[in-house]
């Protein structure tokens, strides 16, 4: 009603009721076992072509009514100097209820058992080798329901379920400190620990920390490299994915002028897919009520599409792709990736490595970042030399950097294997995502090293 009074063109309400469990263990000490409950509502309205957004941590009717009038007044104020009013692409209205059916619902697992799982990871790490001196295990599960209603008639009830853990370890020997990290993440359920067992993940993290103790610093310069699926994932996400977010493309990013053009070698095909069952970046409807889909971004080197919300889809005269996501009711939906990956081709790892006389094999990443001009950086936590066509000894603290549009043409071969890795992406708010691909070879890339 208040919406009509203020003459809003569009209005939407997102009400959420969420429960979280969190754990932090350091060297097997449970720092605190944590549980939380949060209810809240996000209101978004379009008045005179500008957005007004109000978030309140309450489901109380009186508070909500005042939040609606707040949102409309805010939008009106924001519209005062608007030159280009915002419009939304049309979408089908949806009425649906989406319920998750996990084999093991984290909300039904006792806190004691969650602590037990974390302690098993801890034991696998600290028991691996005496030189492993510390480990931190973070655990989070989030369950709840999100209700989405908009003024066009869409009405969606959708369960939320996330299980996430980050495991880090460090090893020390003779004044050398090393550091190793893994994350697991799932929207399927607590059964993720039946595949990623505590013993497996613990050993993986500890082994890397120990191996790195004997690693050398890399030489800085330009080298041919082979990237493992884990590094390919973050490369696809950082170096290309962010540029393919339509809001960043509109903001002067390098992709807006390259739609339909060839910007990569023939072996490069990228997708952003919100429909992979159980993957950390999957969901049925985004936070504008648009169904998630599998979006082809690059096909055989040619840019075929961008990731859209309803606002950017209208600007590009495209279909919304279901990429509008909000971390929770405290923030508005923005364009985010889901599960972003490179499609596999036909090479084996041996074939990728064999032609390289002096280069590097980058197997696992530590972090990555990108800039709108196409500059990217990926820090590496596990790497090896390649000498005369064979993988050699470990190197540490390397990173790669380059410009997306130059680097994508340098992908000269891709493997037939495929892995998808869970992660979190920051763009003012946090989104749960996956990224991945096969092994690939880059003819050359800048490697940052201090030797």
């Amino acid at each position: 009603m208040a919406v009509q009074k203020f003459g809003a063109e569009y209005a939407e309400v997102r009400a959420q009721s969420l429960s979280k469990t969190m754990l932090t263990l350091k060297e097997g000490r449970v720092e605190a076992a944590k549980q939380g409950i949060e209810d809240g509502v996000a209101l978004r309205v379009l008045v005179n072509g500008a957005w007004g957004f109000a978030s309140v941590g309450s489901l109380d009717a009186v508070i909500l009514t005042s939040a609606v009038s707040d949102a409309c007044k805010m939008a009106k104020a924001a519209s005062s100097r608007l030159k280009t009013p915002i419009k939304l692409a049309e979408t089908k209205t949806v009425e649906d209820r989406v319920h998750v059916k996990p084999k093991k619902n984290p909300s039904e697992i006792r806190m004691e058992d969650k602590i037990k799982t974390a302690l098993s990871v801890n034991k696998a790490i600290l028991g691996f080798d005496k030189r492993v001196k510390s480990c931190t295990i973070d655990y989070l599960d989030l369950t709840g329901t999100s209700y989405f209603v908009n003024s066009e008639g869409t009405c969606i009830e959708q369960d939320k379920l996330y299980v996430w853990s980050r495991v880090t370890a460090s090893a020390v020997s003779k004044g050398v400190f090393t550091f190793s990290r893994e994350e697991i993440g799932s929207t399927a359920g607590y059964e993720v620990f039946d595949i990623e067992t505590p013993e497996l993940i613990g050993a993986k993290v500890a082994k890397r920390a120990v191996e790195q103790l004997a690693a050398k610093s890399p030489k800085g310069g330009t080298f041919p490299v082979v990237l493992g699926p884990n590094v390919v994932g973050v490369f696809v996400h950082e170096a290309f994915g962010h540029l393919a977010e339509a809001d960043l493309a509109l903001s002067g990013g390098v992709l807006s002028s390259n739609l339909g053009k060839k910007i990569a070698s023939d072996v490069v095909t990228f997708y952003d897919d919100g429909t992979i069952s159980g993957a950390f970046g999957s969901f049925k409807y985004d936070d504008e009520g648009v169904p998630a889909q599998k979006t082809l971004l690059i096909n055989d080197g040619v840019v075929t599409g961008l990731m859209h919300n309803r606002e950017t889809a209208q600007k590009f005269n495209a279909e919304p792709t279901g990429n509008a996501r909000a971390e929770d009711f405290r923030v508005e939906p923005i364009i985010r990736m889901r599960n972003t990956f490179m499609a596999p081709r036909d090479h084996s790892l041996e074939e990728l490595v064999e032609g390289i006389r002096a280069g590097y094999y980058f197997k696992s990443f530590r972090g990555g970042q990108a800039n709108i001009d196409g500059t990217f950086q990926v820090g590496i936590q596990e790497a090896y030399e390649i000498v005369n066509g064979e993988i050699g000894g470990p190197i540490r603290n390397a990173s790669i950097s380059g410009n997306t549009l130059e680097t994508l043409f340098k992908v000269d071969a891709a493997g037939k294997d495929f892995e998808l890795w869970p992660g979190r992406c920051g763009k003012g708010q946090t989104a749960f995502i996956c990224d991945g691909g096969p092994h690939i070879r880059l003819k050359e890339v800048t490697v940052g090293g201090s030797a």
């Binding site: 060297e27 449970v30 720092e31 605190a32 076992a33 944590k34 549980q35 409950i37 949060e38 209810d39 500008a50 957005w51 007004g52 957004f53 109000a54 978030s55 309450s58 005042s66 949102a71 007044k73 805010m74 939008a75 104020a77 924001a78 608007l82 280009t84 006792r110 806190m111 602590i115 001196k133 460090s170 050398v176 400190f177 090393t178 550091f179 800085g220 310069g221 903001s251 002067g252 405290r330 972090g367 990555g368 800039n371 709108i372 001009d373 500059t375 950086q377 990926v378 820090g379 590496i380 936590q381 540490r396 603290n397 990173s399 950097s401 380059g402 800048t446 490697v447 940052g448 201090s450």
Partner: protein, 454 residues
Amino acid sequence: MAVLEKDAMLYLAENAVNSALAKGAAEAEAYVYEGQATSVGIERGQITKSNRIIDRGLGMRVSVNKAIGFAYTNIIGSQSAIEKAIVKALSAARASKPDSDWNGLPEKKPCASAEKTFDRKVLALRPEDLVDTASVMLDAAANADKRVFPIEGGAGAAYVANAIANSNGVAGFDKGTVIECSLAAIAKEGSKVTPVCFEFNAERSCNVNAGWVGKEAARLAVSALKTKRIETKNTKLILTQFALQDLLYFTLINAVKADNVQRGQSAFKGKIGAKIASENVTIYDDGLFQGGLRTGAFDGEGAPHQKTLLVEKGVLRNFLYDNYAAKKEGRESTGNAARAGYLSTPSVEATNFHIMPGGTAAEELMSEVDDGLIIYYLQGAHSSNPVSGEFSVVATPAWKIKKGEIVHCSRGVMLAGNIFEVLKNVSAIASNDRKMGQLISPWMLVENVKVIGK
């Protein structure tokens, strides 16, 4: 919506503590938070949106047989929701494992008052006022140069209050305001697009300089248009506050946290009294710095904020402690327990990490550089090795200094090294102190850093 009064927030906290004790907690601590924020957002050159967020909640920490449980709720208008959170905190503690190093919650201690952290005028700001602030910024950028395109930014005003109470009699209330504006801009010339150049100003009282932010973001973007390659070599760098904040947050600041030292996660273990930086470097952690962005009367568990000498003329003097890490060594907390609102338990964090300014004006520092780079924005600092301090990052971009003047910028320049070596090679510190998040710092001149050109 009107803000919660001091008495109401303290009452909620003290009541929750009493209820937890009655339900069987050995110790209890309640933290009540209120945040109200209004902002306007700029997208692609125009103001397109306005947001208002009201977030309140209560976080409850209890101990039962030296095992710690925590629960939170944001439904603080309902006594039954609060009681439910208390029960959840207790059940979490009972499910958890005892910690033999747990020596109790903080004791009651007198707090100094925080100065210049609250301005009533900020509370009264309407969205229309923030639209004006953002417009001043946009106009300043547009008038500076036609090639500048502001991509995002905005202006915001926030009120934050917290109350804390524990079963040792700690009871505190503190409130503060922040007003800020920021602008990210690129410059375009033909098909050339610069990296994103960013400026901002955040203050506790109602006096941000929006015109300066717009002008400065535009100046940086335009100066990034002229690019030239540079060679791979060891060179001098001026690190501005942006670069320092990125590099130090993941390395140096981690190394001075007592919990990391105790866990063998710090390169500074056993180094108190040792020379860890050039004698030009003196650093305080100052939770009472007048008008500092992290200034407040007390920390996330009610321990008084203070000024702690960390590095004195290059010599390591102290670490940062919360109550837990301090009691483990039989010491006093330095007031460095931080919280992410009501959603988290406290953890060790710097307040205002203050690198003391030197006597050289920034322009003078620059004029003395014959051949070097000035670094603003970095990519990839979060992939540094937090324990060893090794980093491998890319400057987006790096600006070349020749004979004391910026001559061009260079893209894709990588910097690699070890932050602890960098600190030993600080040859001068400028006098241009500036607040940036938890960092308060001037520019630093550093010798002999490995730079990989393209």
